[in-house]
């Protein structure tokens, strides 16, 4: 980790936070809860405020907070650029895929009712869950991608 210090100095938001123990400890404790909260927002969107987009933003915020405290490179080893790109694509394709599935089942694009042959309302529920998940995945990875792009820029 110490060899990264020199690079870290040039992070866009010039934070010398890596030296502060309190921040590292609190950060380490906080990040899992942020990610957990994101998952709650993701899957509780049917019942209360929230949904894929908000969850994606919060999830990404957790990851970015981690990167700000523990260094960009740690996040980049955990989630390499290729993974980010594939994640972006997969989220959008999951959304579209649900639509295509309903097409293949003989109805219009995004008609979730046909996903469950017996109970259209259940099909709707399932479809909403899946497309919201797609939104969440894409938004998370896009936010991380934008963070990589901005943060990586300062090193060149």
């Amino acid at each position: 980790m110490s060899e990264l210090t020199a690079q870290e100095e040039t992070t866009p938001i010039k934070m010398r936070v890596r030296e502060t123990v309190i921040l590292r400890v609190v950060g380490k404790a906080l990040v899992p809860f942020i990610l957990l909260f994101a998952l709650y927002v993701q899957f509780h969107g049917d019942y209360g405020p929230g949904g894929g987009f908000q969850a994606g933003v919060i999830f990404a915020a957790g990851l970015i907070l981690h990167a700000l405290i523990f260094g960009l490179d740690e996040l980049r080893t955990a989630i390499p650029l290729v993974v980010v790109e594939i994640g972006i694509a997969l989220g959008a394709l999951l959304y579209g895929g649900v639509g295509v599935a309903s097409m293949l089942l003989g109805s219009e694009f995004l008609d979730y009712g046909v996903l469950d042959g017996h109970d259209p309302a259940h099909g709707q529920h399932l479809g909403i869950l899946l497309v919201e998940l797609g939104v969440g995945i894409t938004v998370t990875f896009v936010m991380v991608a934008i963070f990589y792009a901005f943060a990586g820029r300062s090193r060149q």
Binding site: G48, P49, F53, I146, A149, F150, R153
Partner: protein, 145 residues
């Protein structure tokens, strides 16, 4: 009197319009590119408020249905849905605009519009000045690179 009456029932819309115009003014009149993006953001945020105002029903509550209760008045969910999309579109264009600003700073060394225009003009003048030289001095390279 009429005007007062109108104010008392439409003050919310008028407030949104005031905010919108401040944002629009920043976007079109300030020379700093980052400031311009902030202005556009304020403009959009106020339009979002305008839409949400339209959806409000007096005495209503958030459109999350409660089991077994039919006496509740709900506000209109449609403007909320539309504005969720608009917020997302807004942040996407903000990200793109700021990425462009970063590149502009790297290419020009400034993010002030008038300085950039001056730099472009100077470049044009240089190109015009060298044009005469180049046409007598015939050589490869394809001209004005």
């Amino acid at each position: 009197m009429d005007l007062l009456n109108h104010l008392s029932t439409h003050w919310n819309y008028l407030g949104c319009i005031t905010l919108m115009m401040i944002g629009l003014y920043i976007a079109i009149s300030r020379g700093n590119l980052v400031k311009k993006i902030m202005g556009v953001n304020i403009f959009q945020a106020s339009v979002i408020l305008l839409y949400v105002s339209m959806g409000k029903v007096k005495g209503g509550t958030a459109p999350i249905l409660i089991d077994g209760r039919s006496d509740v008045i709900f506000s209109n969910p449609v403007p909320h849905v539309l504005m969720l999309t608009a917020i997302v579109v807004g942040v996407a264009s903000t990200a793109l605009g700021l990425a462009l600003v970063v590149r502009i700073k790297e290419a020009y060394g400034t993010v002030e519009e008038d300085e950039i225009v001056a730099l472009d003009r100077a470049e044009e003048r240089r190109a015009l000045a060298t044009e005469g030289v180049e046409s007598t001095d015939v050589q490869g390279g394809g001209g004005k690179a």
